[in-house]
Amino acid sequence: MSKAWHPIGQLTDIPKRGSRCVATPFGRIAVFRTAEDHVFATEDRCPHKGGPLSQGIVHDASVTCPLHNAVISLETGEMQGPDEGRVRTYAIRLDPLTGAIDLSLAEAAADMTQAAE
């Protein structure tokens, strides 16, 4: 399956060092904007106990889960420190000229098709 890009809005829709979520058929996806205006997208579920990562505090390229303070790398989706586990990350792109953000659901969709086969 090719990578279909879904426009989800503008960079300025997300607060700096903050996040929003996107509702999708595969569940909620959290999109993050760092202090340096990089954007990331992950599943909105902490690998620890399912906390909504979109509600956490964003620092550098990480987010701290609001429920029990697990720290998750936005680049890799992996839990930092001694804990193990990772969240699914999604491809996301930012047009530096227009500030438009697109999200790809290919990773999630691929899983679905595998399951269906």
């Binding site: 989800i8 929003r20 505090i57 550098d60 720290v71």
Partner: protein, 815 residues
């Protein structure tokens, strides 16, 4: 009672009074004159005040409450003009005071270089708080220039402080190298180099010809014709003992007031102590011998025998990052040999002077770790012949294998002096730690005075604590706030105020954060500190708040939220209850529960619904209960005189007043309060952060209780008569906590850290201070009392929080 009059409330007389009152607070009725309009403070810590590392409040030794406690009649801001020995009265500017015994403790005055222009505005000396404030003010002008005349201890501390405040600073020093009375040329050179690295210009062999300007100072002209522009000139070239009134009264005065080993002057009823004295032809300029004098004088006043003797002195400079030490006599001479160690790449220099196999002098720069050990060798006068070859490497190299620093401290003899300022030896510190069960540095300071003056011995004192307490003591007493910084909460709070840091990026930049934008531990803490310290100026950073405080509701384990509106003092009404019932129905809220704080919790609200839920609650007159915040939570009450047959006061009314006055304020950690109408205590006020117990006589103010992971009854702060007084007291207490508490530190932990005495001194004993904290709270409430629910439900604040950024449907996703 015998009348004791004291002229001068400085460091020396302050210590005399402390020692005296410790033995017998009833022995004398004391009258204390001070030319400065304030009581005794730690003068030597003016330098950290100048540099912004400490506030003046932190260096006050005796406050209003202390003087009141010992019934000292304070006549501050009143100079003594003469002493009438025949009538035994002291004549002050505002009247006389009769004495049985008199102490002259007038200290000294800075020496003014007799050059043209010395009276111009902007030319000052460095002796007291007023001087310090003038310097701080001068440094507020962008690009202002300062010239410091005198490169001794005082001048350099002034220069370093002014530089830290952003001034362009030049130090002029007459002799060939800095601190020439304490350092040799090589160490003076290293010091100069270090100061220059900090951006301080140093000119040696610079002789001031005149000070230029018409009304205000404009510059300084040197003997060689050089002209330096200046907005501020600080003269720090030396001091002259203040002995005029003694001389005019006919007492024996040489260069200073002559005293014997009992500190008696030529009049047996008049004593002198401090820098205004001369003993065996010697003058004084450091506090250590003055504290010895004070100890002796206090005993003599109690009729006990003791005599003062001069010990060797050592000098340290209190400029952060310039470690230097000098002691004894280090002049080269016949029969003297020296040992020198240089490590230029590390800026280390050591020089020892030995005479007849005894160490007589030591100068160290860069690494002063062994200073105390050398100092002890100088004072003992024991032979160093056996370790002559390795002596210069310090204590660790003696006796075979090198010792680690802890072992080195362990090896110090019991009578080794640890704190030079206060003359405290090793065994006194270790003994007191064990006897009194001390566990923190502050406690050791309070009980032994060690490390409480200049603070350069703090490292040693901590090592002794580690030695005595073993593993239970963490020598790195400051726990860093988080992995992003090495600074602890206390330092960060202090520096935010001192350096006037007003935003999170500014804090991180100035305090050298190790991460680019902090973490979930430090950001909420910094956000709180900035809100508390700069009310009205600082803009709350939503992204640095935990989700609960960002969306003003409590996140639950399934990602839904709970909503708790305020019920003032636990009172509600039919219309409020009806509105709550309607909201529960309308939004299908699954659970409704009564909280422990006398209000109602609606659990399981979907995030998207929050603004609409709030709008409905707002419409019924309810506001956010802040049940989610590090903030004032509830004020629980009992029904009081309105209904209860035991009630002594209107506890419900007081609870409501407190809650209405204080809601909306952010605090280091949550604050729960309660007001009980009688000592039966139905509102359980004695396990709250702040509690009030009403009695027939008024209101007992309690605080520092806990009923969570820890269970702890409250402590009584004080008792007041009226509701107004109760509110003022509580508000001042909470404001003090807001300004001192570490983030997430509950009130009972704050109390444990800072001690009851300091809290009482600030809000109970000193009415002016209490008012000051009260006013600050009121100021901060001006911007804090906005209902965050209304802002979000109808005010359009943070609307992005409550709806998804986009929705991708099944069809689009499948494409």
């Amino acid at each position: 009672m015998q009348k004791l009059v004291v002229i001068g409330a400085g460091m020396a007389s302050g210590r005399v009074l402390e020692n005296l009152f410790e033995t017998d607070p009833q022995a004398y009725e004391v009258t204390l004159f001070n030319a400065e309009p304030r009581g005794n403070y730690n003068r030597i810590m003016l330098s950290p005040v100048l540099s912004g590392e400490k506030s003046f409040d932190e260096i006050v030794t005796h406050n209003e409450g202390w003087y009141a406690g010992y019934k000292v009649a304070c006549r501050f801001g009143e100079k003594v003009v003469s002493i009438d020995r025949a009538r035994k009265v002291v004549v002050g500017e505002n009247g006389e005071a009769p004495y049985d015994k008199l102490i002259i403790a007038t200290g000294s005055v800075p020496f003014i270089v007799p050059v043209e222009g010395r009276d111009l505005e902007g030319v000052i000396t460095y002796r007291d708080l007023d001087d310090t404030n003038v310097m701080i003010e001068a440094s507020a002008t962008q690009g202002a220039k300062a010239v410091v005349i005198g490169g001794g201890l005082l001048g350099l501390e002034a220069a370093a402080g002014l530089r830290l405040r952003g001034m362009e600073v030049t130090v002029l020093h007459l002799s060939g190298h800095l601190m020439d009375r304490q350092l040799d040329e090589a160490a003076g050179y290293l010091l100069k180099r270090d100061l220059e690295k900090r951006g301080i210009a140093v000119m040696t062999k610079a002789s001031t010809q005149k000070i230029l300007g018409t009304e205000r100072v404009e510059g300084v002209e040197l003997a060689d014709g050089t002209v330096l522009p200046a907005d501020l000139v600080v003269m720090a070239v030396g001091i002259r003992p203040s002995a005029e009134i003694a001389k005019a009264a006919g007492l024996a005065v040489n260069r200073a007031i002559v005293v014997d080993a009992q500190l008696r002057t030529s009049d047996p009823d008049i004593y002198a102590v401090g820098e205004c004295t001369e003993f065996n032809g010697m003058l004084f300029g450091l506090v250590a011998p003055l504290y010895d004098q004070a100890k002796v004088l206090a005993k003599v006043l109690m009729g006990e025998a003791d005599s003062f003797a001069v010990k060797e002195l050592s000098t340290k400079l209190k400029v952060t990052g310039c470690d230097l030490f000098s002691a004894g006599d280090f002049a080269a001479g016949e029969g003297r040999e020296e040992i020198v160690l240089r490590d230029p790449s590390h800026g280390v220099y050591r020089r020892l002077v030995i005479e007849n196999d005894r160490l007589v002098g030591a100068v160290m720069y860069g690494d002063t770790g062994d200073a105390n050990w050398f100092f002890d060798l100088i004072r003992d006068g024991s032979s160093v012949a056996a370790m002559r070859d390795t002596l210069i490497f310090g204590q660790s190299y003696q006796g075979g294998s090198p010792l680690d620093p802890m072992a080195a401290v362990a090896a110090l003899p019991d009578d080794a002096e640890i704190c030079g300022c206060n003359g405290v030896c090793k065994s006194k510190i270790t003994g007191t730690i064990t006897a009194k069960g001390l566990t923190s540095l502050d406690e050791v300071r309070a009980h032994t005075k060690a490390s409480s003056s200049c603070g350069t011995c703090t490292g040693l004192v901590e090592q002794l604590m580690a030695l005595t307490l073993g593993a239970s003591f963490n020598p790195q007493a400051v726990k860093p706030m988080c992995g992003c910084t090495d600074l602890g909460h206390a330092d960060v709070r202090r520096l935010i105020v001192a350096k006037e840091l007003k935003s999170i990026p500014e804090v991180m930049q100035e305090l050298e954060w190790k991460t680019s934008c902090g973490c979930a531990k430090c950001r909420p803490a910094l956000n709180y500190y900035l809100i508390a310290d700069w009310p009205g100026e600082y803009r709350d950073d939503e992204q640095s708040r935990f989700i609960n405080e960002r969306v003003h509701a409590n996140i639950q384990k399934d990602g839904t939220y709970s909503v708790v509106p305020r019920m003032w003092g636990g009172m509600t009404s039919a219309s409020e209850l009806r509105a709550i019932a309607d909201v529960v129905d309308k939004f299908n809220i699954p659970s409704v529960k009564c909280t422990g704080g006398q209000r109602i919790d609606m659990l399981g609200v979907k995030k998207e619904d929050l603004p609409a839920v709030w709008a409905d609650l707002n419409a019924a007159g309810m506001v956010s209960g802040a049940a989610y915040g590090k903030a004032l939570r509830t004020v629980k009450t009992c029904v009081g005189t309105d209904w209860c047959r035991f009630g002594t006061q209107d506890s419900t009314g007081l609870g409501m007043r407190i809650e209405k006055f204080m809601w909306g304020s952010w605090t280091p950690a949550k604050v729960k309060m309660a007001v009980s109408g009688c000592p039966r205590n139905c509102a359980e006020a004695t396990c709250k952060d702040v509690g009030v117990i009403c009695t027939d006589a008024g209101y007992e103010i309690h605080f520092a209780g806990a009923a969570g992971l820890d269970i702890k009854g409250t402590e009584v702060l004080t008792q007041v008569r009226t509701e107004e007084e109760a509110i003022e007291m509580i508000v001042a207490l909470v404001q003090l906590y807001r300004e001192q508490g570490h983030y997430l530190e509950r009130i009972y932990k704050w109390l444990r850290r800072v001690g009851m005495e300091s809290i009482k001194a600030a809000v109970v004993e000193d009415a002016a201070k209490r008012r000051h904290y009260f006013d600050r709270f009121v100021k901060s409430q001006e911007t804090a009392q906005r209902d965050p629910w209304a802002d979000r439900a109808t005010g359009g604040v943070a609307s992005h929080e409550f709806k998804p950024m986009a929705e991708i449907g099944f069809k689009e996703a499948a494409e």
